[in-house]
């Protein structure tokens, strides 16, 4: 009689290998696809990254933020400042945007962590508004109407247009897949164990000696840093940027929340599934305009009321399937 304790299942091994294969295919995309497809995948990667990161906050650390647009916009502004004002290569500005966002997230956390639960949510939103209003005062970056990356700065990314598009595409791929990898590895680590415990019961994890505040702060700062890098990427993708677009609560938080809720909050697979559903829905329904957004909102409400674990939660319960397992199972008993 031997019992085997493992994380991996056959499904997870297949999923892991498929994910690696898919990643290889995606990396080679610039050689076999056109710019429009590259851009669509790039945009998908932005939402995959944002959804995965928001899920780490809300699904695991219990930090339901509706202010992540603060770091998207901040990252965008760091990139455009370094590239257009200081003459940096925009690609080098991306890690700086991440470091900057993480650095500013630390004092921000000290303030907004004073608010509990739902009030924390609105507090983060107010903070994002502060970021937006301050950026709108920077006249060197166009004030309230914003500015564009200069052609000279874009040339520093790469000399020709196809090479530039490919570079931005690979950056998107690195951040999208990287965010999923970071979430996966983080959740399998010691901090991940603490996070999962916090997700299931704050009181119980506190009594077991988990320093909840520290874990939450660490996750908040990590997520802010990565979100700042995604913001810098968004700036590179869109070239033109205004404070209202860079700090948009709809674009960078509302859609992200819908993706995570519909896909399945508190799982790695949920945001991936949610992002796929979001893009499919958008392809077919986007021309409905505001009606499409109403459908999306209603869908999120419906999922929250009838299947709060989202579509992936349903799959997981029904079939016991886990593609990216973070817990252990006992087999062979």
């Amino acid at each position: 009689m031997s019992a085997l304790v493992s994380r991996a299942t056959r499904a997870s091994r297949v999923a892991g290998l498929s994910a690696l294969g898919l990643a290889a295919v995606l990396v080679s995309a610039p050689w076999w696809t056109d710019i429009a497809t590259e851009r669509l995948i790039g945009e998908f990667m932005v939402y995959l990254a944002l959804a995965t990161l928001w899920n780490l906050l809300a699904g695991y650390a219990g930090l339901v933020s509706v202010g992540q647009q603060a770091y998207v916009g901040f990252g965008a502004y760091v990139l455009i400042s370094l590239a257009s004002l200081a003459g940096w290569n925009p690609l080098w500005a991306v890690p700086m945007a991440g470091l900057g966002a993480a650095a500013i997230a630390t004092p921000v956390a000290r303030l907004v962590f004073r608010l509990q639960g739902a009030y924390f949510a609105i507090g983060t939103w107010v903070m994002a508004e502060v970021f937006r209003l301050v950026c709108a005062q920077i006249s060197a970056l166009g004030g309230g109407s914003g500015t564009s990356l200069t052609p000279a700065a874009m040339k520093l990314v790469a000399a020709t247009r196809p090479a530039r598009e490919a570079a931005i595409y690979w950056l998107a791929l690195a951040l999208g897949l990287g965010a999923v990898a970071v979430a996966y590895l983080l959740l399998r680590s010691r901090i991940g164990l603490a996070l999962t415990a916090i997700r299931d019961s704050e009181i119980a994890s506190d009594s077991l000696g988990i320093r909840i505040d520290r874990v939450k702060l660490a996750v908040y700062v990590l997520v802010a840093g990565l979100t700042g890098m995604v913001g810098a990427l968004v700036e590179l993708q869109k070239v033109r940027m205004s404070p209202d677009a860079a700090f948009s609560v709809n674009d960078w938080t509302a859609f992200v929340i819908f993706i995570v809720v519909i896909g399945g909050i508190g799982t790695i697979e949920g945001p991936i599934l949610g992002a796929l559903i979001y893009f499919v829905l958008r392809e077919y329904l986007a021309e409905l305009g505001s009606l499409y957004l109403m459908i999306l909102g209603a869908l999120a409400i419906l999922v929250m009321l009838t299947a709060p674990q989202g579509l992936w939660g349903f799959v997981q319960r029904r079939f016991g399937l886990s593609l990216f397992p973070t817990g252990y199972r006992v087999r062979g008993l």
Partner: protein, 287 residues
């Protein structure tokens, strides 16, 4: 003198912010629910009043006779039909459901009323004023707004502490299960609280629509002002909420006096200052 004027006008606009906040504070006090759609409901009430005024020719303030009961009925149904199902399951469901509600309301208003800005015309009330001292004029509308805020908060206070409905509110707020054991139908009590909250929202929406132009996307901004007033004043304290609204209004007025671009920013900074110094607000009541 311009500074005194900025402070006086800030105090008066604080009445409007207190009305934004009172409905939010009420439902948080009764059921620990933070309604992200609160601001959009205020704007929806503005549109409803606009439609009623244009259909009937009533004065905007008189239109409240129709708008407030409709808003209250909607709140009652919303709570019974949707929001009650989100309670008692942690913070996420109510937050995300009201967030979805917010997006639905904004885009619904955009579909029905387009993105054009609108305004309610209250005639002579809007332009009339008297001089408090040279350089400080008090408009009848801001004064009426502030007086209404006083009446609304006094009425809520009375209802909360001196009526049987208020006793039920406090009972379910203290302990939902024990209240239910005592024969209180908590679902109906919550629905009544939401109806009351939306009646206040209707009053706030009509004043918002008389005071300035409005459009479908103004809601989140109003939610944030109301929320700031609640936190500055201290959770669960209705008169504190009025003080919070006044502080927010004064901060915005003074900020705008320094630089027009700093109006809203100054309010946010005042909010974070209070949060840094007194995390539980200036006059907290709920622990």
């Amino acid at each position: 003198m311009t500074w005194i004027n900025a402070v006086v006008q800030g105090v008066l606009i604080g009445g409007l912010y207190a009305m934004f906040a009172a409905g939010l504070s009420l439902i948080f006090g009764v059921m620990r629910l933070v309604n992200i759609g609160h601001g959009d409901l205020i704007v929806a009430a503005s549109y409803l009043a606009w439609a009623v005024v244009h259909a009937t020719g009533l004065h905007p303030l008189t239109s409240l006779v129709i708008v407030a009961p409709l808003a209250a009925a909607f709140g009652y149904a919303l709570q019974l039909g949707v929001l009650n199902h989100t309670l008692g399951k942690g913070i996420l469901p109510p937050l995300l459901v009201t967030f979805g509600l917010s997006v639905i309301l904004q885009n619904g208003m955009l579909l029905i009323f387009t993105a054009d800005t609108r305004k309610l015309d209250a005639g002579a009330l809007e332009t009339g004023s008297f001089a408090l001292s040279p350089g400080v004029d008090i408009g009848y509308l801001p004064l009426l707004m502030f007086a209404t805020a006083l009446v609304v908060i006094a009425a809520l206070q009375f209802l909360f502490y001196s009526t049987s409905l208020g006793r039920e509110f406090r009972a379910v707020s203290d302990d939902r299960e024990v209240a239910a054991l005592m024969g209180i139908d908590d679902r109906r009590v919550y629905a009544s609280a939401m109806a009351l909250s939306l009646a206040v929202v209707a009053v706030a929406g009509v004043f918002l629509a008389i005071r300035s132009n409005f459009d479908p996307f103004m809601g989140p901004g109003r939610l944030i002002f109301g929320f700031e007033a609640v936190i500055i004043g201290g959770l669960g304290n209705l008169w504190g909420t009025l003080a919070g609204g006044v502080i927010l209004g004064v901060a915005q007025g003074v900020g705008a006096e320094i630089n027009p671009g700093w109006q809203v920013l100054a309010g946010h900074i005042a909010f974070f200052l209070v949060l840094a110094v007194r995390p539980r607000g200036l006059f907290p009541r709920i622990s």
